[in-house]
C-alpha cells in the first residue's frame, strides 16, 4: 500500500498549520517526522486520520483520492494512529477501550466482552504486548497504556500506523522494547510514521526523515548520513547547542533536608515511603524515575500541596513539614509545577495576573487588600522582556500562548525573584529544543547564583545533563544515588525499572 499526501494545507485562525505539505510513505518502511513545537506535525497527522479536514490538498492511497469524513473512514482505509495524548477512556478497561467503536456483539446491541478479551489476548500474544484485558486504564502506567493504544490500532487491521511522540513518556528500557515492536510491525509489512523530538531515536530507527517548519516541509534527510546537530538546525532554522554547559559545582550548606518522608497518594496508599535526602546551595539534584513512582507526591509534599504522613522537611534549618504553600513560598522556595495547565497557570487570566499569581499578596503588587495593577504590569513586562516570552502584550490570556511560552511564563515568575531553593518538575516537558536550551541555561544560572535546585524529570537525558547528583526513585523509595559522570543512561534505566 502506498500513501501520498499532496499539497495539504490547513489554516487555523491566525496560523497556517500546514502549508502545501507533500509526503509519501509505503508499507514496510519507517518515516520519521521532525519539527519544532507548533510546526504542524500533529495537525498533519490528524488530517491524515480524518480528525481534521484539510483546507486544500488530497490524500491518495494506491492512486485513489480519498475523502475522509471522519476517523471512521480513515480506519476503514487502513490507517491507525497512536496520539500524542492518549485517546483512551480512563475509566474503561483495556478490553473496552480496544473494541470501542467496533464492538463484538452477542445479539442486537448487547456487548460481548468475553470476545473482546479474547481478541486482546490474541493480539498481545502475537506482538509480545503483555497487558491484562481487565485492567482499568487509569490504573495502568503510561508504558502499558501505550501498548493498549497499539493493540487498539492493530485490532482495526491498520496498514499504516502513525505514532505521535510515542517515546516522550517511556524509560530507556521501554523505548528499546517499543523499538522492537515497531521493528516487528515493519517486518510484518506495516508502514510507520514516527514523530519525535529525540534526534538520537530518529537516527536509530528511521528509514527516511522529513522535517517540518512553520507548517511546510523544509527538507528530508537520510538517517545514514544525517547528524543530530544537522537535524536540529534544520528544525529550528538556526544552530542549536544541544549540550548543557556548566562549571563543576561547589555545594554549600544544606537548604532542603528531607528525612524519612512518607506521603500517601489519593487512594490512601503510600506513594513516598521513608525518603531522605538533602539539596545544598550551589547544587542541582536531579530525581529520575518513571512517572508514577512517587515523584509527584514527593514534590507536592515539599511544596505544601499534600499532607505529610510521616518524617520531616527542613528548609534552611526551619521545620516546614506540613507548611502551607504560602509559607513555603515565603521561605524562599520557587516551584515549577509538573502540570503547567492544571496548577502552574490560570489559563483564563492575563499574563500579568499569572506573573503575580503567587506574590500578589505582597508589596509592591498589593497594599492591604488593594491590588496595584500598575506595579504588576511593570513586573510582567520586565519578565516578558528578560525571559523572552513571545507574546503581543502582557494583557492577553495565558491560554493564547503556545505551550513552550506558557512554560516560560512559569519559569520567569519562579526564577524572577530571589530564592534559596528551586523545585522544578518536568521543567521542559513538551517544549522544543530552542526553549529547552533557554530553560536549562536559566536553571544552571540559578544554581550559580547560589540557589539549591531540585529537578524532577522523567527525561533521563535532561537529568543527566543538568544534575550534579542524581537520585533514582522507584516505587516510592530512592533506590540509587549517582553522579552523572560515573553512570550511564542504561544503568539508570535499570534502577528506574526496579533493579537494585
Amino acid at each position: 500500500m502506498k500513501l501520498e499526501l499532496k499539497g495539504i494545507t490547513k489554516r487555523f485562525p491566525g496560523v497556517v498549520a500546514n502549508d502545501h505539505v507533500d509526503l509519501e510513505i509505503e508499507t514496510g518502511e519507517i518515516l520519521c517526522l521532525l519539527g519544532e513545537n507548533g510546526a504542524g506535525k500533529s495537525t498533519l497527522m490528524n488530517i491524515l486520520y480524518g480528525l481534521y479536514s484539510a483546507d486544500e490538498g488530497d490524500i491518495v492511497i494506491d492512486g485513489k483520492v480519498q475523502n475522509f469524513a471522519g476517523p471512521g473512514d480513515a480506519i476503514a482505509a487502513g490507517i491507525g494512529m497512536v496520539h500524542q495524548h492518549f485517546m483512551l477512556v480512563p475509566v474503561f478497561t483495556v478490553a473496552e477501550n480496544v473494541v470501542l467503536g467496533v464492538e463484538p456483539m452477542r445479539s442486537a446491541g448487547i456487548l460481548d466482552l468475553d470476545e473482546a478479551r479474547r481478541d486482546v489476548e490474541a493480539i498481545s500474544n502475537q506482538y509480545n504486548l503483555a497487558v491484562d484485558p481487565n485492567a482499568v486504564i487509569e490504573e495502568l502506567p503510561v508504558g502499558i497504556q501505550q501498548r493498549v493504544e497499539i493493540i487498539k490500532v492493530l485490532f482495526r487491521d491498520a496498514e499504516i500506523l502513525v505514532f505521535d511522540e510515542p517515546t516522550a513518556v517511556l524509560t530507556p528500557q521501554e523505548v528499546d522494547e517499543f523499538f522492537k515492536i515497531v521493528d516487528k510491525l515493519k517486518q510484518d509489512g506495516k508502514g510507520i510514521i514516527f514523530i519525535t523530538h529525540k534526534l538520537k531515536e530518529v537516527l536509530e530507527i528511521a528509514d527516511r526523515i522529513a522535517v517540518l517548519r512553520r507548517g511546510a516541509v523544509v527538507g528530508t534527510a537520510d538517517p545514514a548520513t544525517a547528524t543530530e546537530s544537522g537535524l536540529a538546525e534544520m528544525m529550528v532554522g538556526r544552530p542549536v547547542d544541544l549540550m548543557v554547559h556548566k562549571a563543576p559545582s561547589h555545594p554549600g550548606e544544606a537548604v532542603l533536608s528531607v528525612s524519612d518522608l512518607t506521603v500517601m497518594n489519593i487512594q490512601g496508599r503510600k506513594a513516598v515511603d521513608g525518603v531522605s535526602f538533602e539539596v545544598r546551595r550551589n547544587e542541582i539534584v536531579g530525581i529520575a524515575g518513571v512517572q508514577g513512582n512517587g515523584q509527584t507526591e514527593l514534590v507536592e509534599a515539599l511544596t505544601g500541596l499534600r499532607e505529610v504522613a510521616g518524617g520531616t522537611v527542613l528548609i534552611q534549618g526551619e521545620d516546614h513539614t506540613d507548611s502551607n504553600p504560602r509559607q513555603i513560598h515565603n521561605a524562599g522556595v520557587a516551584h515549577v509545577p509538573e502540570d503547567r495547565q492544571r496548577s502552574g497557570l490560570i489559563l483564563g487570566f492575563t499574563l500579568t495576573e499569572n506573573f503575580v499569581l503567587d506574590s500578589y499578596h505582597a508589596v509592591p503588587f498589593s497594599e492591604g487588600i488593594k491590588m496595584d495593577w500598575k506595579a504588576s504590569r511593570e513586573e510582567a513586562n520586565r519578565l516578558i522582556e528578560e525571559f523572552d516570552v513571545r507574546t503581543p502584550s502582557s494583557e492577553i490570556p495565558a491560554s493564547n500562548l503556545s505551550g513552550g511560552n506558557q512554560q516560560k511564563v512559569i519559569v520567569a515568575r519562579e526564577f524572577g525573584r530571589q530564592v534559596d531553593l528551586v523545585i522544578a518538575s518536568q521543567p521542559t516537558r513538551g517544549v522544543d529544543v530552542g526553549s529547552i536550551e533557554f530553560i536549562h541555561e536559566r536553571i544552571v544560572s540559578e544554581r550559580d547564583a547560589g540557589s539549591a535546585v531540585l529537578i524532577v524529570s522523567t527525561e533521563l537525558d535532561e537529568v543527566m545533563a543538568l544534575s550534579d547528583r542524581i537520585l533514582v526513585m522507584f516505587d516510592g523509595r530512592i533506590v540509587a544515588e549517582k553522579r552523572p559522570e560515573e553512570t550511564t543512561n542504561a544503568e539508570l534505566g535499570l534502577y528506574m525499572a526496579g533493579a537494585s
Binding site: L51, E96, G268
Partner: protein, 422 residues
C-alpha cells in the same frame, strides 16, 4: 468483616491522617446520636408504638407490630455507642458509609417509635407513599444522568417535567391517557432538542441553556394556563392512571402493597431503572455513550459520531423527563396548576449527583427523599410537638446531611466542555 479483623491485628493504625480524622468525627457523631436517642426518645416515651403493616382488604393479613418506644431507644442507643467506639478505635474501612446508613436508619426508627408513642400508624402507607413521591424525582434524575453521561449538564429537568405535566393535562383531557403519555414525552424530547442545539451546535454554556429552559417553560405554561385553561376547564380535566395490583406479587405481605399495587408510572420507574442500568453498562449504545461523556475526543478517534451521540442521548433524556412530568397530572391529580412541579426537578438533580450518576443510585437517592417526604406527611397527623414548618423541612435537611455526610466528593462521569471538531 474480614478486613476489619485484619486491620485490628496490625500493630499500628494503617489509616491515613485524613481517614483518621473522618473516623474520629464520625465516632463523635455516633456518640452524640446515642445520647440524643437515649435522652429524647428513651426517657420521652411511655407506651408503645404500633406499626400497622397490612391494609384493610389485603388477602394475607399480618398482625401489627407493637414496639415499646423506651425499650427500643435503649437498644438503639447501645448499638450506636458500640458503633461509635468501634469507629474510633478501628474504623469500618470500606463499609463506613454502609454502617453509617444503618446507624442513621436506627435513629430514624427510634424517632418513629417515639413519635407514634401510644398510637398506631400505617407502615404500608408510609412506604407506599415514599415510592410514589420518588417517581418524578427518579425520572428527573435518570433524565439528568442520561444527558450527563454524554457530557451535557441538564439543569432544565424542572422545565422538562413541567412541560410534560402541562402537556399531559391538555392531551389527556382531549385525547386520553395513552396519547397524553406519548405527547408529554415528546414535549420533553423537544425541549431536550432545544438544549442540545443550544449547547452542541451554538455552544451556549450548558447551565445557561438549562436555566433558560426552566424559565421559558415556567413562563409559557403559566401564560397559557391563565390564557386557556382557566377559561376552558374541560381542557384541564385529564384521566388519572389508577393503581393496579400485579397478580400474586401484590399479595405478598408488606412488600406486595408497597411495591406492586401502584400505578403505571411506578412500574414505568422500575422498568426505566432496569433498562437504563442494563443498556448503559451492557450494550454497545451504553459503552459508546459513556465513552463520549468521559472523553469525547477518544470516542471521535475511533469513529464514533460524538455530536450525533450527544443529540440522541439528550433527546432520550428529555423523553424520560417529559414522561415523568406527566406523573404530576395524569399520574396523580388529573389537572395542571402553575408551577406544580415545585422544585422536584432540582431534587432530581440532587438525586442524580447523590446517586453518583448511576440509575440504581439515582432511584435509591430518590427513595431517601421520598421517604423523608412521606414521613413528614405522616408525622403531621401523629401528635408530635414539632411544628409543621419544621417537619416540612425534613426532606431537605435529610438531603443535605446525606450529601454532606455520606457521599462526600463525587466525581462526575463527564467532560462537560463543549466538544469542538475542526
Amino acid at each position: 468483616m474480614g478486613n476489619v479483623t485484619a486491620v485490628m491485628t496490625r500493630p499500628t493504625d494503617s489509616r491515613s491522617p485524613a481517614e483518621l480524622r473522618r473516623s474520629r468525627v464520625l465516632a463523635i457523631v455516633y456518640l452524640v446520636l446515642a445520647l440524643l436517642v437515649l435522652w429524647a426518645f428513651g426517657f420521652g416515651s411511655e407506651g408503645s408504638a404500633t406499626f400497622v403493616i397490612s391494609r384493610p382488604g389485603d388477602a394475607i393479613r399480618v398482625g401489627d407490630i407493637s414496639v415499646p418506644g423506651a425499650g427500643l431507644a435503649f437498644v438503639v442507643a447501645a448499638v450506636l455507642a458500640f458503633l461509635g467506639a468501634r469507629q474510633w478505635m478501628a474504623g469500618f474501612g470500606s463499609k463506613t458509609n454502609l454502617v453509617l446508613a444503618i446507624g442513621l436508619g436506627l435513629v430514624a426508627l427510634s424517632f418513629l417509635a417515639w413519635a407514634a408513642d401510644g398510637a398506631s400508624f400505617s407502615l404500608v402507607g408510609l412506604l407506599q407513599e415514599a415510592i410514589k413521591r420518588a417517581v418524578p424525582i427518579t425520572f428527573g434524575a435518570v433524565s439528568g444522568l442520561l444527558c450527563e453521561r454524554t457530557g451535557i449538564i441538564n439543569i432544565g429537568i424542572e422545565g422538562m417535567l413541567l412541560g410534560g405535566a402541562f402537556t399531559g393535562a391538555i392531551v389527556g383531557s382531549t385525547l386520553g391517557a395513552t396519547a397524553a403519555m406519548i405527547a408529554a414525552a415528546l414535549v420533553g424530547g423537544l425541549l431536550a432538542l432545544l438544549l442540545a442545539v443550544l449547547t452542541v451546535k451554538y455552544r451556549v454554556d450548558q447551565i445557561i441553556a438549562g436555566v433558560v429552559i426552566n424559565i421559558f417553560v415556567l413562563g409559557l405554561t403559566s401564560f397559557y394556563t391563565s390564557q386557556f385553561l382557566v377559561a376552558n376547564p374541560a381542557l384541564n380535566n385529564a384521566p388519572i392512571m389508577r393503581a393496579f395490583g400485579i397478580p400474586l406479587l401484590a399479595d405478598i405481605p408488606l412488600i406486595g402493597p408497597v411495591l406492586f399495587d401502584q400505578n403505571i408510572f411506578v412500574y414505568a420507574m422500575y422498568l426505566l431503572v432496569a433498562i437504563t442500568t442494563f443498556t448503559l453498562f451492557r450494550t454497545r449504545w451504553g459503552l459508546r455513550t459513556r465513552a463520549v461523556g468521559e472523553k469525547p475526543r477518544a470516542a471521535d478517534t475511533v469513529g464514533i459520531n460524538v455530536y450525533r451521540t450527544k443529540y440522541r442521548n439528550v433527546i432520550i433524556g428529555g423523553l424520560v423527563a417529559g414522561f415523568g412530568g406527566a406523573y404530576f397530572t395524569i399520574g396523580s391529580v388529573g389537572r395542571f396548576d402553575e408551577n406544580m412541579t415545585a422544585g422536584r426537578g432540582f431534587i432530581g438533580l440532587a438525586a442524580m449527583i447523590f446517586g453518583r450518576w448511576h440509575p440504581v443510585g439515582a432511584v435509591s437517592a430518590a427513595l431517601v427523599f421520598g421517604l423523608a417526604d412521606s414521613l413528614q406527611v405522616k408525622l403531621g397527623i401523629l401528635d408530635t410537638p414539632i411544628p409543621s414548618e419544621f417537619l416540612a423541612m425534613a426532606p431537605y435537611l435529610v438531603t443535605i446531611v446525606v450529601v454532606a455526610g455520606l457521599v462526600g466528593r463525587s466525581r462526575p462521569p463527564s467532560d462537560y466542555t463543549a466538544y469542538v471538531k475542526e
